[in-house]
């Protein structure tokens, strides 16, 4: 683990969200240079029984352990990042992410994820999104479970 013991993760204030999806559009602009949002966005806003939910990577880092080629690493900022050039597109991280925060678009074989860049926060006119600093130890997950657990 790097010396930096904290990481910025996204926090969602559902009560402020108006469902405009500007956050997704901003994210897909970063990820794929398109404002189509949807499956090209690392953050997803889902309407559920009159309210909204956010689905996005929580920087737990479980995916680091499943990557066979070391394409996923936790940077000095604490953010878990996928190196597209090293990635061999196996989707192990997509399949193993417990919250489905690792995303895959049909556009390319390599997955992508939230890098806590804040583009979505800036794009949200309702201030429904916020980057908060948390301790890595509080969010960290490891893939290996005790036998039988």
């Amino acid at each position: 683990m790097g010396k930096n013991e904290t990481v910025k993760i996204l926090k969602f204030h559902a009560e402020k969200c108006n469902g405009c999806l500007d956050c997704e559009k901003a994210c897909s602009q970063i990820q794929f240079k398109t404002d189509s949002g949807g499956d090209k966005s690392a953050i997803r806003i889902i309407k559920k029984s009159g309210s909204y939910e956010m689905n996005v990577c929580n920087q737990c880092g479980l995916c680091i352990d499943v990557c066979p080629v070391g394409a996923l690493t936790r940077r000095k900022t604490g953010v878990v990042t996928l190196d597209k050039n090293t990635c061999i597109g196996c989707q192990a991280c997509v399949g193993f992410c417990p919250i489905e925060g690792m995303k895959k678009s049909d556009e390319r074989i390599e997955p992508f994820k939230c890098i806590s860049c804040g583009a979505c926060v800036r794009a949200c006119s309702e201030e429904a999104l916020e980057l908060v600093e948390v301790k890595i130890d509080d969010v960290k997950k490891v893939v290996y479970y005790k036998q039988g657990a």
Binding site: D65, V69, G70, V142, V143
Partner: protein
């Protein structure tokens, strides 16, 4: 013993480090032949050419893969069979100049999205069996061979001195180079060559190299395996997976090949240029999720690999102990999977190809070697797998550390753990009966449980010791049986009944006495008694789901065909049924895992752009399966007599065995053979064993009748030309040969069913020439 989120650069195995002088090693290489080729993209899973290397003449050339070849042979093992058919003669034996060692890939090989997609299929004429042996193996070589530009490599002839063959996909160059100074044993040479041929001095570059090698014991025995390396960026060691069965490593060393190296410049998740990458990613992700959610409740492969089977087999009386005399043992819990879990290094991922989240390739790092040339050194032991632990049980070794020692040396010396363990277990039983003794074993006290003696025998084989026993022991059970009988040291029938081989190949590690279908699964096979064709014990014995001969024959048609399919495509079988969808038990046919079969249909279509269905997958296999059997016939084998199995795999050979399961056998004499209970109680054990012997032998012949009929073969086990034509395999030379062999059998009176049928029973067809009507 570290768990989770280890920085790749910080992980330490604690292994002994080696200092090599690579300049010196490389400068002693002399280039014997070189061939430059144009690199081309893979098209929908196929490189569309194979590589031919002749070590005798130095000829290196490309062969085109035709559409007809794809249609008939699909790829992988199928291509291997086709290339072998074009190159050898019916008189070819394992050490003939023209025998070939072929390593193939398959159209789905190298896909990273779907677990278990990195297998190579190796084909040759086996020293153990004199017929074709196919052996599948993980590691990076197969995918890299394809990404370098070839669907297969075919090596003919023998070199005059030790060589390495380098397939350099970075430079587009094949070379044959002398390699006088490299180590031979696999854990060392794979490290040397990985470092030597990596373009840069970093782990990323090393991960783009794969080395095929076999150690020194492969030179002196028929059990030589091929070690395929895959560089582990976390452990920083080239790890090893084995093409174990049938002596392929023996052929490698007979050709004086020290190693084959494959190297790629780069590859990505669509290096196969699949027709539909989006579907591939969806299929793969679905299976990753299944494994994530269900593996821990099913096979626990991610924790302990195939070793999870040890306790299950012990519980069901299927774990071979003391040369298959028993199926369970009071000490067995000492080698249950939790004991190995304590030793395994718990870091992920452990797939032998990228993207395999079954991750069953477990290791023990920093293992301190206890005997032999590497005594005191700390090494990474790849495995053990279930089979290797089963060998421990078979030799009555109940200490995990000795099983690791056995595993390590078998691997690095290039020995198949299965053949080695099964054979030594047989020698140990012969030792117990006094048929062998210390003197006859070159001074070794080779009794059950003597791990040191077992290891010493392996070291002697690796050193090429010239003791009479050592020399013959390494040639396996069949040769030792003949030797013991020739020496008149014991009863011929006892020796033949106890030695667990069929076709010359040693059995793998399951007790089949109570499952007739599984006896067929071992005996009515192409290459010999290996569980890769069918594993029917639970279906047959535990669930009684295939009670009739017809049911068993259907299972011995479907499952061998289905399992063959993986080898045509470059796939591992484990992700098919060692993980099952949560609702699998509620489907029509749980033993087939229907949802996963459908995955494979969609998977093959997504890569190749074909539009096949599940029936076509079986047909793909049936073509190659029948072709291989036909080639065995051509080589003078492949008949009913060659499908013989030893009685130890059918029933109790000795009184000790009968008495250990007396209740079971007595009950069968009453229920299945109609004897009265009182009669059985009074009956002499020898008499009871005789009755059981005759009954079970006849059951096996009746099963063979039913299976041959279901497969469209003659009653003597020859694929009929009519069947071949139905499958679209119309090679005139092959069809003519088959008809000639059938005519020979006809003259010899062999075209008739061999089971003895009772009053209310019938052979599978009243017409023993039933196939002639198909014209």
């Amino acid at each position: 013993m570290t768990e989770g989120q280890i920085l790749i650069e910080e992980y330490e195995t604690g292994n002994t480090k080696h200092e090599w002088n690579f300049k010196k090693l490389k400068s002693s290489h002399k280039i014997l032949a070189e061939y430059k080729y144009k690199r081309e993209e893979i098209q929908r899973g196929y490189a569309n050419r194979t590589l031919y290397v002749n070590l005798d003449t130095g000829e290196i050339k490309e062969k085109k893969v035709t559409e007809d070849m794809k249609k008939k042979f699909t790829g992988g093992r199928g291509f291997g069979l086709k290339l072998l058919w074009d190159s050898i003669k019916p008189t070819t034996r394992w050490d003939s100049e023209e025998n070939e060692l072929i390593i193939t890939t398959g159209p789905l090989c190298g896909v990273t999205q779907y677990p278990g997609s990195g297998k190579s299929l190796c084909v040759t004429i086996s020293p153990s069996t004199d017929i074709i042996c196919d052996s599948n193996v993980g590691g990076f070589f197969g995918p890299y061979l394809k990404f370098a530009g070839f669907d297969a490599i075919e090596i003919q002839g023998k070199a005059k001195e030790d060589v390495v063959i380098v397939v350099d996909g970075e430079k587009g160059k094949i070379s044959i180079e002398t390699a006088p100074k490299e180590e031979t044993n696999s854990h060392l040479i794979s490290e040397q060559l990985t470092y030597m041929y990596a373009s840069e001095e970093n782990d990323k570059s090393r991960q783009k190299i794969s080395v095929v090698s076999a150690g020194t014991a492969a030179e002196n025995s028929y059990w030589g395996c091929l070690n395929f390396s895959f560089y582990d960026i976390r452990r920083k060691v080239p790890r090893l997976k084995q093409a174990g069965r049938g002596g392929l490593g023996t052929v490698l060393r007979d050709k004086k090949i020290k190693a084959i190296v494959a190297k790629v410049e780069k590859f990505d998740g669509v290096a196969n240029n699949p027709a539909d990458p989006a579907t591939l990613a969806k299929l793969g992700t679905k299976l990753h999720k299944e494994i994530r959610d269900l593996d821990r409740y099913q096979c626990n492969m991610r924790s302990v690999g195939t070793v999870h089977l040890v306790e299950i087999m012990d519980e069901y009386d299927l774990l071979p102990t003391e040369n298959y005399r028993f199926g369970s043992f009071p000490k067995a819990s000492k080698i249950y999977s939790p004991e190995f879990y304590k030793l395994f290094t718990k870091i992920i991922p452990d797939g032998c190809w990228h993207g395999c989240t079954m991750a069953c390739a477990k290791t023990v790092d920093g293992f301190t070697v206890m005997t032999g040339p590497y005594k005191g050194q700390k090494v990474t032991v790849d495995g053990p797998e279930y089979e290797t632990v089963g060998c421990g049980a078979n030799m009555s070794l109940w200490d995990p550390l000795w099983i690791l020692e056995f595993n390590f040396y078998c691997d690095t010396y290039g020995l198949d753990t299965i053949s080695t363990g099964t054979a030594i277990a047989f020698y140990m039983e012969m030792y117990e009966y006094g048929i062998l003794n210390k003197e006859r074993c070159d001074g070794l006290e080779l009794c059950f449980g003597n791990a040191k003696a077992a290891l010493e025998l392996i070291h002697r084989i690796a050193r090429g010791d010239q003791g009479e026993f050592t020399k013959i022991a390494g040639k396996g059970v069949r040769r030792v049986k003949d030797w013991l009988i020739k020496k008149k040291w014991g009863d011929k029938q006892l020796i033949n009944d106890c030695g667990m081989e069929s076709k010359g190949l040693e059995y793998s590690e399951y007790v089949t006495k109570e499952s007739l279908a599984m006896q067929g699964g071992y005996g009515l096979t192409l290459k010999g008694p290996q569980h890769d064709e069918a594993w029917l014990i639970f279906m047959d014995m535990v669930n009684n789901a295939i009670p009739t001969f017809g049911d068993k024959a259907e299972a011995l048609h479907y499952f061998p065909m289905w399992r063959t399919w993986f080898g045509l495509n470059g796939l591992c079988k484990l992700p098919w049924n060692d993980i099952e969808p949560a609702n699998n038990a509620e489907t029509d046919d749980p033993s087939k895992v229907p949802e996963h079969v459908q995955n494979y249909v969609e998977y093959q279509n997504a890569v190749t752009g074909w539009n096949v269905d599940k029936e076509e997958l079986i047909l793909q296999s049936e073509r190659c399966y029948n072709w291989q059997r036909s080639m065995n016939v051509w080589l003078g084998r492949g008949r009913r007599k060659d499908d013989w199995i030893p009685y130890r795999s059918m029933g109790p050979v000795t009184e000790v065995e009968y008495n250990s399961r007396k209740e079971r056998y007595d009950k069968q004499l009453v229920e299945k053979l109609g004897h009265e209970e009182d009669e059985i109680e009074e009956m002499d054990i020898k008499k009871k064993m005789e009755i059981l012997y005759d009954y079970r032998q006849n059951q096996y012949q009746k099963l063979a009748d039913a299976v041959y009929y279901r497969r469209g073969w003659t009653p003597n086990g020859i694929p009929t030309p009519q069947k071949m034509k139905q499958l679209g395999m119309d090679d005139p030379k092959m069809l003519k040969m088959l008809q000639e062999k059938i005519d020979e059998d006809e003259k010899a009176g062999l075209n008739k069913w061999s089971g003895k049928y009772g009053k209310e029973e019938e052979p599978p067809s009243n017409d023993p020439h039933y196939w002639e009507k198909w014209d």
